[in-house]
Symmetry: C2
Subunit: 182 residues, 2 copies
């Protein structure tokens, strides 16, 4: 039911989707749907939690590995984010479209900002350690780098022919080594 | 009137915005609004044309400069796209959210695909010429590179403190040279 709800929210927008739309899609009556789900916002909450819990776990795992350089922790955070994004594509797509129109959305935006701050901190650590360039502010690097990661939701399809590993390799190669021919 | 319409479409979604909403925002009656504008879709069309015409012009200018290498034409296309994106931020933001729910949206998606193909072609030329790495397929490079460009719409504000030039410099430096410390 949550899968169908997320798909419908992504297809026609959360605000434009009614519980009636969802009931039709599932072949339920509206009252049967309300028997299972207290509200549309409850489904949104579950979807946003799915995306945020997995992203938070990937970032925490990358940050916790103190045996490697900050640069390697940053690489791991990028790769982990790509993997979560592809593994939980509908939920992350929904998360990235949230604009703060309800308490659940505002709470999700707050958690996103916390994650963004942790990622910017990783970038700053990698710069301080001398692993990455220091001529661009770490905050700006972080926005552009994870902007590229998040842009995957615009075109990657779960059944696509490019594997998550290939995508993560290409993205980290471009981001860290650049496009110029060696 | 077009500015207000684009802002409202971006704020609450095109599908969820009625001509009544727009009339309220402008302080018009609905019939006064219809006196000036034949339909909501007409406003969408104008907004999408604004974004697409300017993007197409920037890409065409970059491609037309045969006095420089394909790599330099690609750099110019990236920089030109960043400039259009910031200079026409509301219209480009609306364009990037279009999902094909109407004839105007389908036509815009078609024009976007044509532009994407031209950009992918520029990437392929730069790779063939030996200017950029060849271990990642040009199509994938193009998606990731312009994914980073397009992600600017998620956080750049027209009144922001980072100049378009600084943004374009940072983005092209990361994309072409990479993040690793020299």
């Amino acid at each position: 039911m949550l899968r169908e709800a997320i798909e419908l929210f992504n297809l026609q927008g959360y605000d434009a989707t009614s519980m009636g739309d969802l009931a039709s899609r599932l072949g339920f009556t509206k009252s049967a749907l309300y028997h299972h789900v207290p509200s549309k916002e409850h489904l949104l909450q579950l979807a946003l939690d799915e995306a945020l819990d997995n992203l938070a776990e990937a970032v925490a795992a990358a940050r916790a590995d103190s045996s490697v350089s900050a640069l390697d922790r940053l690489r791991r955070a990028v790769r982990g984010s790509v993997e979560v994004l592809i593994g939980h594509l509908p939920a992350v797509t929904l998360l990235l479209r949230v604009r703060g129109n309800s308490p659940a959305e505002l709470a999700a935006l707050k958690r996103r900002r916390e994650l963004d701050a942790q990622l910017a901190q990783l970038v700053a650590e990698a710069a301080a350690e001398g692993g990455i360039r220091t001529d661009i502010p770490p905050d700006l690097i972080s926005r552009l780098l994870f902007g590229m990661v998040n842009s995957l939701t615009e075109w990657v399809r779960p059944s696509g022919r490019i594997s998550p590993d290939t995508l993560a390799d290409a993205l980290t190669a471009i981001a860290f080594e650049g496009l110029l021919a060696p």
